[in-house]
């Protein structure tokens, strides 16, 4: 009997507490930075596409909803010729982000991607590529990878020695 009255009293007190409910959509919920929501393709600090089309995200995807085609630009950079995510299949597990060796594919704190027509949930590269570095500012894959591209020759990446002179016998 006492516990019943105590519970009702506590409920009564809650009427005067601060509200926990967000009045969505008028009021947006603050999401943590690592929230696994909308997937985007980010750019490196130079503004170039970070995605090099390595297919690891597609391989890691448990629902196989990522499809792309690696292509090489005349400047030596690789990029996805097309990049398609079928969000009607995506389970937002974030494996693609974990698999990505270049921090290109990132899950962002945004879940507002609902559509009335399922076909509209198929995102192409134009829909995915954003003009930002996302959560990992400063990382530039080609500055650490050994491949030469225009503007960065062999030996110019970080922690690289200048190219070997094949004709030299010096130690």
């Amino acid at each position: 009997m006492f516990s019943l009255i105590r519970s009702m009293w506590l409920v009564f007190l809650h009427m005067f507490h601060k509200r926990e409910t967000y009045q969505y959509p008028e009021e947006k919920a603050p999401l943590p930075a690592r929230w696994r929501g909308r997937i985007a393709l980010t750019r490196d600090p130079d503004g170039g596409e970070r995605c090099v089309g390595c297919y690891l995200c597609a391989a890691a995807c448990p629902v196989d909803c990522i499809s792309l085609q690696a292509t090489e630009a005349p400047d030596g950079r690789r990029y996805p010729g097309f990049f398609r995510i079928n969000f009607s299949r995506c389970i937002f597990c974030g494996f693609c982000e974990e698999a990505c060796p270049t921090y290109a594919i990132q899950l962002l704190p945004d879940f507002e991607i609902a559509e009335y027509d399922r076909q509209n949930l198929v995102y192409e590269k134009e829909d995915l590529l954003i003009n930002s570095q996302g959560k990992y500012p400063g990382y530039n894959y080609y500055r650490v990878a050994g491949m030469a591209i225009d503007g960065k020759n062999k030996g110019e990446a970080s922690k690289e020695e200048p190219p070997v002179d094949v004709k030299s016998l010096l130690p």
Partner: protein, 907 residues
């Protein structure tokens, strides 16, 4: 022989090394520098194991598995912590300079280095300092070079120089700066350079054509396929993604191609993706809009019923397609779609192999020949992998000697090569032109084909063949004959090679005589013929009339409807001949996959599937029938030629082909109609074959993008296509274990993602696949048959004034129709308008080099640029054969240079 690995007893054959033994037993021991075809050098220190003195030895010592022979009761340990630690350390060192670029590396996902790194447990890099870098080289259209990734295992140069005889790839510089490349930028000269992509355990050499439409191995849809590039029938794995063919990889077959392919075979696949492909049927004159499949089948059936029909088959179409056409039009109306010269050569080869007592060897057997005689053939250009086999064969004799004197095992590569130096077994080449194998030859002889054939006939006579004596040989030629006879008689398994390459069939007759004579002398000779195309022998076995007689028949009005199967007839006879044939035809029904000159003339065009979009059987030069499987479901109305023909037969109510639906049906019908093909039914399991109730998947278990690839068209995924013809499925679902050998789509094993996984599929390293190598031989020699020798040698060649004999020159890049659709191959091809002539002839007829000469063939005048070639004897000229714009097909032939006046050529 027993060995103990980690205290477990295993049985293993003698003569192996411990690394081979471990791999053969299914144990995972990492390695880099060892390659089953190249042997051991012990350079990478990766296969370290503990070797114990005896049962009581607990300490043991570290040895390299690849350098230690298998001995009885030897005790080793792979799991010993010292050995494991050593292997992990070694890979740590190898990886210090490895760049951070797997994501942009084409090897990734099929990389031996990745596999071995994971296998040893070296998962994190310890090295924190700066890395060595190299500049790359441009190696031409076939291979990419990325030297930073190199781990200095030396496999590339050992393969390229020692195994394939290349000259322009080497190792440069010293100490930790060693560099594997060419002297400077430029295309790799070897015709077998593409194998570097598979030999290299990491991504230094990668396939450039794959890069242009790059897909990881796990994303490719593979099917077991057979190369269509020449008559050898190498086994390949063809990989597809997004509806285009992306890669041809080697598919190990212990009897045929082993570990390697030639560049024509590896890169000549781009025609499948060509913009000249025919995807929809057409009926001319054009109706409004596209015709539907069912309509066009009805139209064709109607035309066949009305007209008097002949069918022309093709040496590049499968047995099934040719058979279906033969049944559709009736055997008496079926013509073999080969040029007359090709037909003659193939028919002769078949007759010799079928009726004679000499056995025709597989490529693997050729590698073990101890004496080789090549008659009128430039193998590198007409049967490239046979040239590679001959390269190995010339090492046999010195290797046997060394084995006996120094007690070295054949796999001890470095000491073996050191001991052999440049000693070579007997190899004799009689050919008009220099060949790449000349450098290995004991003796070479050049001259007019007739004269060379006379030497070969004299050799046959000397060996005891019942042929007319050839007595007017020069002294030098007589010595050569004696030398060759001695060498061939001293050998246990001499190999005689001839074929279509020179255009002279006397060489083939002489080769038959020689091998038969050797057979009667109690040797076990091998007789091998090169043939023009991938299914030349199969078509010849099926049989049909000559193309010539089709042309005559049409001229006389004996037929008015021609059904052409996968054949560009303009490659089979001179242009005006084929023009006349089509002019006499009311209807030309063409089933083909590329839009070519013949397609221009067709009134009905049916889109056929290429080797990647069709199932079928082809017969190689050895008489081995092999099955190729459909890789992917094609676009448009494309389907197998035999399926078109079956559908047409159904509508036209041809009883011979009634109620046949799928591949098994037509193969069965073929085996019933042609008992010679009886074995073809057993080449591969039938369509109802299942393992644990499951099909064999064409896709890997990690295939990606299933729910996104077609989502741009419709977000609801379509049902995957069914395969009613084979036990393979077009999906990633199915049996995951090892399929039967003819059905292996690609080599993969847990922990072994690269092509090196093949070790897990073999009964013995470098031996047969489990359950036997795929393909069945249809030809076995009549060992007790009495040979009917070809008695008459040709007359000594005497040049005719004002005339030249034109002989064909084949080349690996250019002479084959389909591979020319690959850009890199087309770039490497010769010019079609050159006529090579003897310089003295040119001087006599006052033709200066580089000038256009005109000459008549069959009252048709041709102009070509004269190019001097001092290897040509007087009175003999040569043309590049098989090039796309070649007008003169009928080779060899004697032509008259159009008189002195016409020789003033117009510049």
């Amino acid at each position: 022989m027993n060995i103990y690995i980690d205290n477990k007893k295993y049985e293993i054959k003698e003569g192996k090394n411990l690394l081979e033994a471990c791999l053969q037993l299914g144990l995972n021991l990492p390695y880099f520098c060892w390659h089953p075809a190249l042997g051991s050098v012990g350079a990478c220190r990766q296969c370290a194991i503990k070797l114990y003195k005896d049962e009581d030895d607990t300490k043991g010592r570290l040895v390299m598995g690849c350098m230690e022979p298998v001995r009885d009761n030897v005790r080793i340990s792979l799991e010993d912590p010292d050995a494991k630690g050593f292997r992990e350390q070694v890979i740590g060192w190898l990886m210090t300079n490895h760049p951070h670029d797997c994501a942009v590396c084409d090897e990734g996902g099929a990389c031996h280095l990745q596999d071995m790194t994971v296998m040893t447990g070296h998962t994190y890099r310890d090295y924190r300092f700066s890395k060595r870098t190299y500049n790359n080289q441009d190696l031409g259209p076939f291979l990419n070079h990325e030297m930073n990734r190199c781990i200095q295992c030396y496999r590339c140069v050992r393969y390229y120089k020692d195994y394939a005889g290349g000259k322009d790839l080497d190792v440069f510089a010293a100490h930790n700066h060693v560099y594997f490349g060419r002297c400077g930028n430029g295309k790799l000269e070897s015709e077998f350079s593409g194998n570097l992509a598979e030999v290299c355990p990491t991504g230094v050499f990668t396939d450039k054509t794959l890069q242009s439409h790059y897909t990881r191995k796990w994303d490719l849809t593979y099917a077991p396929s057979i190369c269509q590039g020449c008559s050898l029938g190498c086994n390949t794995s063809a990989g597809e993604r997004y509806g285009t063919l992306r890669q041809i990889a080697n598919r190990y077959n212990g009897d045929v191609n082993g570990y390697f392919l030639c560049d024509r075979g590896r890169y000549g696949y781009e025609f499948v993706n060509s913009h000249q492909r025919i995807y929809e049927p057409a009926v001319r004159p054009h109706s409004n809009g596209a015709v539907k499949k069912e309509q066009v089948v009805e139209v064709v059936a109607e035309k066949l019923k009305k007209g008097r029909v002949i069918g022309i088959g093709s040496p590049r179409a499968s047995l099934e397609s040719n058979f279906a056409l033969k049944q559709l039009v009736g055997a008496e109306h079926f013509y073999i779609g080969m040029s007359d010269a090709d037909h003659d050569h193939t028919a002769l080869a078949l007759k010799i192999l079928k009726e004679g007592p000499a056995r025709t060897p597989s490529l693997h057997e050729m590698e073990h020949a101890d004496a080789v005689l090549i008659l009128g053939e430039d193998l590198t250009n007409t049967a490239p992998l046979m040239a590679l086999a001959v390269r190995q064969a010339v090492r046999q004799q010195p290797m046997h000697e060394t084995e006996q004197t120094l007690h070295l095992a054949p796999w001890q590569d470095a000491p073996m090569r050191e001991a052999i130096q440049d000693k070579k077994g007997p190899l004799f080449i009689l050919h008009t032109f220099p060949t790449k194998l000349d450098e290995l030859a004991t003796a070479i002889h050049r001259g007019a084909p007739d004269n060379l054939a006379r030497i070969a006939f004299a050799l046959a006579a000397k060996l005891g063949a019942d042929v007319a004596p050839v007595d007017d040989l020069h002294d030098e030629e007589k010595t050569l004959v004696a030398q060759m006879a001695d060498a061939l008689l001293a050998a246990k398994n001499p190999l005689i090679i001839s074929g279509y390459g020179s255009g002279w069939d006397h060489f083939m007759k002489a080769a038959a005589n020689i091998s038969w004579a050797l057979q009667q002398q109690g040797r076990a000779p091998m007789l091998s013929f090169t043939l023009p195309e991938c299914n030349s022998l199969g078509l010849e076995m099926l049989g049909g009339h000559r193309l010539d007689s089709a042309i005559d028949l049409m001229e006389k009005g004996g037929a008015d409807t021609v059904v052409v199967l996968e054949n560009d007839l303009y490659r089979r006879a001179d242009e005006h001949v084929i023009d006349a044939l089509f002019a006499n035809a009311k209807e030309v029904i063409l089933i083909d996959h590329l839009y070519n000159q013949t397609a221009e003339k067709a009134t009905v065009l049916l889109p056929a599937g290429t080797f990647a979009e069709a199932d079928g059987t082809i017969v190689n030069n050895e008489g081995r029938a092999q099955r190729f499987f459909q890789v992917f479901v094609p676009k448009g109305s494309v389907q197998e030629s035999w399926r078109w023909l079956l559908q047409i037969a159904e509508k036209a109510q041809v009883p011979r082909l009634s109620s046949l639906q799928n591949l098994d049906d037509i193969v069965w019908a073929m085996c019933v109609a042609v008992p010679f093909f009886e074995k073809v039914q057993q080449i591969a399991p039938h369509a109802d074959f299942r393992i644990n109730g499951q099909k064999i998947p064409r896709e890997s278990h990690r295939y990606s993008g299933r729910t996104a690839t077609l989502a741009n068209e419709n977000v609801s995924e379509p049902k995957p296509a069914d395969d009613i013809d084979t036990p393979l499925s077009f999906t990633m679902e199915g049996f995951r274990g090892e399929p039967p050998a003819p059905l292996i789509p690609y080599f993969w094993s847990p922990g072994w993602n690269s092509v090196q996984a093949v070790n897990k599929y073999q009964t013995e390293i470098g031996g047969h696949l489990h359950g036997g190598d795929p393909g069945l031989r249809l030809l076995e020699p009549h060992l007790n048959g009495r040979p009917h020798y070809f008695r008459e040698a040709p007359d000594r060649y005497i040049p005719m004034p004002g005339h030249v004999h034109i002989m064909p020159v084949y080349s690996i890049f250019g002479s084959e129709e389909l591979s020319m659709h690959t850009k890199g191959i087309a770039q490497s091809a010769q010019d079609f308008f050159c006529i090579y002539m003897n310089p003295e002839d040119m001087h006599q007829w006052s033709i200066s080099p580089g000038i256009w000469v005109s000459f008549d063939v069959d009252h048709h005048s041709y102009q070509m640029v004269a190019v001097p070639n001092h290897w040509l004897p007087r009175g003999i000229a040569a043309l590049n054969a098989g090039l796309p714009k070649s007008k003169i097909i009928d080779l060899p032939q004697c032509v008259k240079l159009s008189g002195a006046e016409a020789l003033h050529a117009t510049r």
